[in-house]
Point group: C2
Chain length 660, copies 2
């Protein structure tokens, strides 16, 4: 048991590391780490099951700092409890180029950072995904191998963001009772007291979403501990409102928004040292305090060892499955299953909508991979994301593999990030491509973190027809292609759809989006190829030496390109067709390949039922683009294609005009 | 007083028009109009103050169909009450290309459509903005000219979207008691019963956000009316939970998700006709029913006339201000004020960050235009959006002109749309450019609707420094430029900032974003020019006949281009610098102007601290781009610029390399 005096000194170590690091960087947020130091100290010295020597132990408790601007809280904890990555030099190097201690916690920079946070509300929603993963894997592998808590520290900013409501509602609905959120209830926002912008009764709000809530003094360690104990017994997720003073300990600035996001200044730091009776120099932690923290870091060594023994003794198949899945590796049988499926497609040449083709591909994939976990933001029948293997998960039964996320695209995407970060699962979503706009911040974070989440994005153009411009993506492909590290696929038929799925699964360190049609498409890949032709991002679908015209197209417009090719060929104009299912993969090919694919036809035409932005790099600024330059319209889709001039005839006319 | 029997027949007219139109279109959503017909009938026959013959009457009540998929409810109401735009032929033409009756209600297609809805949650958040506008203008112009209700019909989907929480919390905080939301509480989502995805106690949730809530049978007209009367007396916004049966009246499909988004089919329609004792043919409304509806449409004629008389009698200056602002015209004094300000800038050549320059420009603008209403998503000090004229609005005092939106970017952007749609105000926001991702759906809708909202987007690149990649925009400029009709500005110094503000204000039929730096920038515009040089989107900042090198740049990178120009000139290499503050305006210039600006230098270089996407059209795919190709990093900004190679030296080196 840690005495109150020792607790205070341990918490103050966080405070001084934080204020000193911010001061040295002359940039950062001391207020949260100082205010929440007591909460974090209680959590990490009395509750957290974690092993700093084995940070990726799958059964560790997860701690998510949703209020990511308070990054020094996390870095202090990681340093103090003995994570190798975060040395005192890293702390001194806070917010400097190349440091592991970036301005906001960056997943992958150092072990112990469970997720990248900073954009508010994301962390709490990631944590919901982690808690879903824990609950799902506990059901699958048993409590022997998987049973842990997910803790979150969230601020007022997190709770004001709409995504938090989606996350809270989902967690309450699913009864994720091992999710415990500390709300750093400090009454302060950047603009001033919270009361200038918010009058929410957070307890009532969380309870309305079926949460348990508790209120405590966030500077009373025993009260915090009692609350956590109570939370652990709840059959609901719990929000512990911790009344704190932002910048606690700073005699003149504590409790004001001045301490939120600026260094305290030398005078105030000196005054804080005096007030808290802290003699140690900057970046120096008294040895008794460091020892106590390092001891706290050893709390779960035994638990970890026992877990490891249980894993070793587990049924070999179960163990292998568990280990493989946490390594992020795929089943070896996947490739042959997809190959067999492609062979069948080449024989039958079906013409489904690619959303249906995606369902068919998923039927194969979900049969091989037990770790896929699907879902939809209330568009299951439209997204075709549910297969025979994926029964629905319900609050009381997690044996299924499908989540009805509700109309909550943002919460869905962030929860998927949490599942991927947790490990053991490969989450895929279901939504309309247009609503990628609703979850863009989470998709971006997946790309930044380099994690495997797969977004099934159907109804990918004016091809959706009557629902009109509010539902018709026009700029979404370009906008998503703009996100670094995200693979955006737009397959042209059932075969390409299977190949794109395969690629999305194979890349374990990046997210994907797969844009799919509502409308049926003819098979453009008619011969069986063992090779995944989509893997290079673009490839010759129809070759032609010395082509006068090259037509580049994606998705539903490849069919148009193929038809235009036929017409042009009939007119004696040699024409090549390049399918471009993935810009990102194409631009990662050797320059020679890119040049060869782009080729040197005198006439280059791109066809895509979206905007031109991004295509000039392939067709040149003097190339012809056949697509959209405005929002869409409501009407039957075949009429829309004609109305907007995206037809084989338009391609042929453009080619002839250019050839003169 | 309308008898119950008459009420039922009037409501059934909505039901049959809706199901018949969906059937004819073979596409659409009959469930909501049939379920909510009673609510709408009560509202439009007993409460709504509106004049179908003068749909833009500023003091009308606003009705927002947040559940936009139920568009036939709105079209039916507009037809029945006598709006000229919606004829029976338009109803028959539902969801056809060119019809005013698009799949979802499209603002601008027909009078009476107050906002474009369909993307869920947007409408309720627009309505919050409308209610803010009403409250603000009531304070300013008095109840004689402005006092009305804003009514919303929202479904479960709207309430599941996170944006609804932001909107609800803001409305509750601001005590918008003239906002009345009908929740179409039908227990059904697309995937099945709501219970598969949600367990929220909506009453408790709304009350937690300081709303009044009432529960009624949504098919009992008197109960609905009593609830509205009670709501009108409340000092808080009110949510009326109307328990309804989706697809009410359809004997076999009512109450199931089958009736949500598909035609009922001929058999079910026939059965419904029988069950509801409705003899009239499709698209034919019995004359007694149509007469009753047209009478309802005349309910406010007198009120409108009286209001018009009050306006005529009002103080001439007040009247002129009111009329001008609702016409969306600017004060004539604006141009000269901006001109004088630009003259001063040319004399003093200050080097502020453009976010500060924006504040200075706003100080001028807000002094001239009383209709600007600013705000920030809790970043006021960073966004520099508050000027001497804009005191904060508080729940009890709307005399100010500044809204503390809280950390609610999405709710802010949607509320701004609502204010712009309401008329009388020009809303501008404050946020970080990176968080445009959080409110992208609302920005898109502003562009689709063609309304004037202005987004101040600061901290627009790696130039923000230590906060790191979660906060550093890289792809945001490209992603926003991708949205049709949105003007994205990135001014290079204080003068360009003033010019971009002027352009944003002058375009009353489109939204703008202004990307601004955190860091100081040198003045690149050193001579006074009466003409707004930014108006053409791109212009010669430094001309050079027969330039060997042309450098194109935006925002903070124009300074880099100018410095590179100096270095290259010193080396005897003739160099031109083009500032490109707005792609959209540039591409709207005559082709000759575009060609002249792009020019024919052998070497073309673009410099922008963002991604290349979109630049190839200007520099060609063989042009040199100096910018970002990955996410950013945490560190002091000057180091980041060096690290990512965005420097004058890099531009010079690239130019020399190309020249060989």
């Amino acid at each position: 048991m840690i005495s109150r005096e020792k607790h205070d000194r341990m918490a103050n170590a966080i405070r001084f590391l934080s204020m000193d690091a911010v001061e040295k960087a002359n940039s950062g947020h001391p207020g949260l780490p100082m205010g929440a130091a007591d909460i974090a100290t209680v959590l990490f010295t009395r509750f957290m099951t974690f092993d700093p020597k084995a940070p990726s132990w799958p059964n560790r408790d997860r701690f998510v700092l949703s209020a990511g601007h308070g990054s020094m809280l996390l870095y202090s904890l990681l340093y103090l409890t003995g994570y190798e990555d975060i040395t005192i030099d890293e702390i001194k190097n806070f917010r400097q180029l190349g440091a592991k201690t970036a301005g906001h916690p960056e997943y992958g920079h150092a072990a112990g950072i469970e997720t990248t946070t900073g954009p508010l509300g994301q962390g709490i929603a990631n944590a919901v995904g982690m808690a879903i993963a824990e609950r799902k894997l506990r059901d699958e592998f048993g409590s022997d191998l998987m049973e842990h808590y997910t803790y979150v520290l969230a601020g007022d900013g997190c709770l004001m963001e709409g995504i938090s409501q989606e996350a809270i509602a989902l967690a309450g609905h699913l009864k994720l009772n091992k999710l415990i959120v500390f709300w750093d209830d400090n009454n302060i926002s950047i603009d001033g007291p919270i009361s200038i912008a918010d009058s929410t009764d957070q307890h009532a709000r969380f309870r309305a979403s079926q949460w348990n809530t508790i209120a405590v003094d966030g500077h009373d360690p025993d009260a915090i501990a009692a609350a956590v104990e109570q939370a652990q017994k709840s059959d609901k997720p719990t929000m512990i409102a911790c009344k704190t003073v932002i910048g606690w300990g700073a005699p003149n600035k504590a409790g004001t928004h001045k301490v939120h996001g600026s260094p305290l200044g030398a005078d105030e730091i000196a005054a804080t040292r005096k007030a808290l009776n802290w003699d140690a120099e900057a970046f120096s932690v008294p040895s008794d305090v460091l020892d106590a923290w390092r001891l706290a870091g050893l709390r779960s060594t035994k638990a970890h060892k026992e877990w490891q023994e249980r894993l070793e003794k587990a049924d070999p198949e179960k163990k292998a499955q568990f280990v493989r899945r946490f390594a992020g590796d795929l089943e070896s049988g996947l490739d042959s299953a997809i190959s067999a499926y492609k062979k069948k497609l080449a024989e039958t040449r079906p013409n489904p909508a690619t959303r249906k083709a995606s369902e068919d591909a998923l039927e194969v994939i979900n049969g091989v991979l037990k770790e896929t976990i699907g879902g939809s933001a209330d568009l299951t029948g439209s997204n075709n994301t549910k297969t025979s293997q994926t029964a629905s998960i319900t609050p009381d039964d997690f044996s299924g593999r499908y989540i009805h996320y509700g109309v909550r695209e943002h919460g869905m995407a962030a929860a998927m990030n949490g599942m991927a970060l947790h490990g053991g699962l490969i989450p895929y979503s279901g939504g309309f491509l247009i609503f990628s706009d609703y979850c863009r911040p989470s998709i971006r974070l997946a790309a930044l973190m380099g994690i495997r989440v797969i977004h099934v994005l159907t109804h990918d153009s004016i091809g959706l027809g009557e629902d009109g411009p509010t539902h018709q993506p026009v700029e979404q492909m370009a906008a998503l292609r703009a996100i670094p590290n995200l693979m955006m696929f737009r397959p042209a038929d059932a075969t390409e759809t299977a190949e794109c799925w395969q690629l999305a699964l194979e890349h374990k360190d990046r997210p994907s989006g797969i844009a799919l049609t509502r409308q049926n498409l003819m098979a453009v890949r008619t011969e069986f190829e063992e090779e995944n032709l989509c893997a290079k991002g673009a490839y010759d679908l129809i070759s032609s030496a010395d082509a006068q015209v090259t037509i580049f197209a994606t998705g539903s417009e490849v069919e148009i390109a193929v038809k235009a090719h036929e017409a042009l060929t009939a007119k004696g104009i040699s024409t090549r067709v390049v399918s471009v299912p993935c810009f990102e993969l194409f631009y990662e090919q050797p320059e020679a390949y890119q040049k060869a694919i782009i080729g040197n036809s005198p006439v280059k035409i791109a066809v895509e039922a979206g905007i031109r932005q991004g295509w000039d790099h392939i067709i040149g600024s003097d190339g012809t683009f056949i697509g959209m330059s405005s929002f869409g319209a409501s009407g039957p889709y075949k009429e829309l294609y004609k109305h907007f001039g995206i037809t084989p005839e338009a391609v042929v006319a453009a080619a002839e005009a250019k050839l003169g």
